[in-house]
Subunit: 324 residues, 4 copies
Amino acid sequence: MKEAKFSAALVTFGSFRDRYSDYKEPKSTPELLEEATRVDGLSGIEFVSGWDLKDEYLDDIRSSLEKTGLAPVACITNLSFSPRWAKGSFTAYDPETREAAKAEVRKVMDQAAEIKCPLVNLWFGQDGYDYCFQADYLKAWELLVLNLKEVADHNPNIRLGVEYKIKEPRTHCFVGTVGKTILLLHAVDRPNVGAIIDMGHALAAYENCAESIALLKMHGDKLFSVHLNDNYRLWDDDLMVGSIHIIEYLELLYWLEKTGYDYFYSLDIWPAREDGVGAASECIRWIKGLHRVIEKIGMEELEGLIQEGDAVKASATIREALLP
Amino acid sequence: MKEAKFSAALVTFGSFRDRYSDYKEPKSTPELLEEATRVDGLSGIEFVSGWDLKDEYLDDIRSSLEKTGLAPVACITNLSFSPRWAKGSFTAYDPETREAAKAEVRKVMDQAAEIKCPLVNLWFGQDGYDYCFQADYLKAWELLVLNLKEVADHNPNIRLGVEYKIKEPRTHCFVGTVGKTILLLHAVDRPNVGAIIDMGHALAAYENCAESIALLKMHGDKLFSVHLNDNYRLWDDDLMVGSIHIIEYLELLYWLEKTGYDYFYSLDIWPAREDGVGAASECIRWIKGLHRVIEKIGMEELEGLIQEGDAVKASATIREALLP
Amino acid sequence: MKEAKFSAALVTFGSFRDRYSDYKEPKSTPELLEEATRVDGLSGIEFVSGWDLKDEYLDDIRSSLEKTGLAPVACITNLSFSPRWAKGSFTAYDPETREAAKAEVRKVMDQAAEIKCPLVNLWFGQDGYDYCFQADYLKAWELLVLNLKEVADHNPNIRLGVEYKIKEPRTHCFVGTVGKTILLLHAVDRPNVGAIIDMGHALAAYENCAESIALLKMHGDKLFSVHLNDNYRLWDDDLMVGSIHIIEYLELLYWLEKTGYDYFYSLDIWPAREDGVGAASECIRWIKGLHRVIEKIGMEELEGLIQEGDAVKASATIREALLP
Amino acid sequence: MKEAKFSAALVTFGSFRDRYSDYKEPKSTPELLEEATRVDGLSGIEFVSGWDLKDEYLDDIRSSLEKTGLAPVACITNLSFSPRWAKGSFTAYDPETREAAKAEVRKVMDQAAEIKCPLVNLWFGQDGYDYCFQADYLKAWELLVLNLKEVADHNPNIRLGVEYKIKEPRTHCFVGTVGKTILLLHAVDRPNVGAIIDMGHALAAYENCAESIALLKMHGDKLFSVHLNDNYRLWDDDLMVGSIHIIEYLELLYWLEKTGYDYFYSLDIWPAREDGVGAASECIRWIKGLHRVIEKIGMEELEGLIQEGDAVKASATIREALLP
């Protein structure tokens, strides 16, 4: 197996908040980067525009990346983190808001270019609806396609990765499932526009993440990055890898390898009540350990199990490799 | 609004069973057809191959349809109702099983032609997986596309409607969401292959059915038929229309009208503990009543609400038209 | 039917935030109270300690309530809104935190007494766990019982209403279902300790809210208050009443009447993207309209339907009274 | 740790059916018992009255148990497997049906006595409702309590274990959660009436099974037996142990040991598409392997982790013991 490269969102090491409370004290971008260097096995960073990625920090970020050897893995666009987008960004009814959203993406693409980050993450968390009779589904889809094409052409050397999520913050997000995401990518039809799978988002949509990886492979090799975490399958709990879905993680890792995925394994966790450095380190150790299980079984053996489709035999093989 | 035509699966009037028990006494096809005539407002019938649709019944069916004026609305293929398909039909690893599945579809297409039924329903309930490492997702998809093309070409005058469902009887079905279904239709690329939306299947996939209707409209006008019922959003409970999701039904009916849907409103309910004729009649009366609510508000007014996106205003408008 | 009295949480009219963004500008308590007077049909207010209920506001609140005639309906304790409780309040492993939590409750009980509010709301949102092997379930339960007894005895004239919720902010909350809540009330065994049902929390626990009301009636007449809102059954979306579950609301309102509930119908909604005054007004109008449906059918007729258990007949009766 | 004793429902080795299809050929009770002897590590059997447990088989069963040394672990009452109970058993509106249900329980208690089986399983699958306004929740609860007391007194030497399940076959079952089950046991107040936890039912109710075990311990030591299987948390999929929830199983096994559980670990799986003997063997091997993980860590060490509540540390400890 290829050796995995691990990255994490810089916010992993900072403060958190939800509807009810704040958790932990905020840290500056340089402090966060300092924390990141303490994670065993981490070699890349994801930034969030408007939070830890701002023009004023670009020099700090560049020098820190240089000094630490950490790679810039993705710049996550702020299309969901401001009241401005409360009723949508690319699909807002208000044309000025849509223009502002595209300007925001172009700005982050420029920031990404400046810090030599090849990937910009587009997550349309506010583009959706909460109530019936609130959205024009046809118009929303047209706007998504049109505006994605437009920003993609701003700089074809920057990859745009669309991260789908079925809900939260809206009760229904337009770009919610792997199927709808691939339809969107087909319609946009730009080589620099692909998808980002978040394991937890896939689970919350009752997807098997391995299957979603396979579908993106088949439909144009469009998996640009993965966000790893775990949850109880009903909400994006953003728990640590290794918390719940051990077997599904084995299958996910198998399919990443099988489909030739070679970008970062990026952590997107929410350790509001845990030590961020410890939590990220744990996730990496779990993934490395699960990789060892796969290697112990062997990729060919696993492929053989899949071709047999015998659940009892697959269970036995995994059990023997996994359990002491 | 166009006047809606209503149909029901013939099994609505017969016996039922689940994992645990049987419910009601079985009836013959002629008896079932006799029951159907007692449903107020019903003008069409859906048959299930192998259950109430068999070669030996074709004459009975033809004469009964002629006598009663009921239209043959769909013939549902048996790709899920026999141990032969326990590990899949079109995607079975065993090539003989796949051939048998295609033969089954061709047979039902021929039966449909004989009773002048324009639509054959393909529901791939057994094509999926229950466990990790049990399915080759790439191969399954290829087989679906290949085999669908093949059966579609058997008789281009018969429409094939693929009914998606996220789970049951498998814990994961390949053709599970509207997005994946449209991807499949695009890959198959035959004018006589489209989709059937089951309201309950859409709910169980956390879809808003109205949005799914819109997506099928946009992607090639591919909505061939609808199955109507209701559930508690976590399972395909197949309850009567009007049981739970009144507002979502209003929006669904609005979008069917808006997108020019003009085929039958077909009931797919499971009244194991209720009177089948009464249950079907109730569903039709609910839909007619909800149509009156839409007419009372007016299509243009509803379109205006959608274009405003103001949930409070939409709520007020619906409330005033709905409540006494 | 008794005429319903309506109240709303004061935060309904203010600003909102979630994991990702803020929504709307904050308002002062007097401004919020001013907004509340604009809601048609509102006659009571729920306060949140630490947000709009602070010692410094007590005079303002008292004079405003007097002037406007609004009743103080509940004071919601801050046991979930501060980093101090991040790992629990009454069940925190740290004894100082537990003492602080009890002190907080006593403080709010005193504030409630000062503004003549008969009810203090205890919601243990942070008391739970996110991961396996993180909680001592036996100890947590003992602490809940012990500490609840203790605070209850601080002032037997103030009612303490325990509001259960299955998850959020923790992935699992100890006091999560109606069954566990009644067990807790039995163990605490104080006349001034009862339960508050939040319709959305009940839905998210796959409860039928009407059944939960009945259970609390039967087990000691322990329903102290209700929080009304709606959601998609998988998360506490806090949508407006009338958004989704019309029929379940009819049944809920029927059982409130049947069991002699006579406290306020309190709105707990989250109109981050809507006008708060408009959203609250809509909820009240929906409930009043649904009350009219019940009156149109008649309590006795509904009781008869329940005693027959014939879903088709119940559907017809509701449909005829509800639809135009 | 105590050495675990394993049992399985005899139906594990037979045929299956669901709403759509049959799976496998039926087998006679002697054939099923023969199959059971082929499962490595199995030492007990659960029977289902009316299926494999009938008066005519009692001699066969007795001699087979004697010959093979298999223990009779539970007799599962038929209160859900016949159209007679379609609208409830103990809570049916029809008094004759209720009497028949109690007679059925007494019959199975007598059969149990005859084959020296100490436990009768009561699962009220049909006692619930599908629609609003269909059930009298107060009356249902009274009937449950009254009738349970009555059958309990038929033979105080036979334990009655109430197995709760939140839904299926009804969309809502009265005895649906651990909390409601304990309330029921308290009201019934008989030493020979306790609870059976099915891991899958607990998951489908969003319970953490370990917590439910702890609650039953605390409330009168009322855990009479456990049913083990796995699912995707939204439905009672009855998959093999080891399929999905590895970490939750570790915690469950830890709490069974901690609370002194000493009855059988009974498999309740549904291998319709798998080899029953192989599937049961796999489950036992998984549980034994997970027991080894617990022993490797040590009960005291795990207790210490729980008392710390540090999810990162718990993750590390489990990971190091589990992964190669």
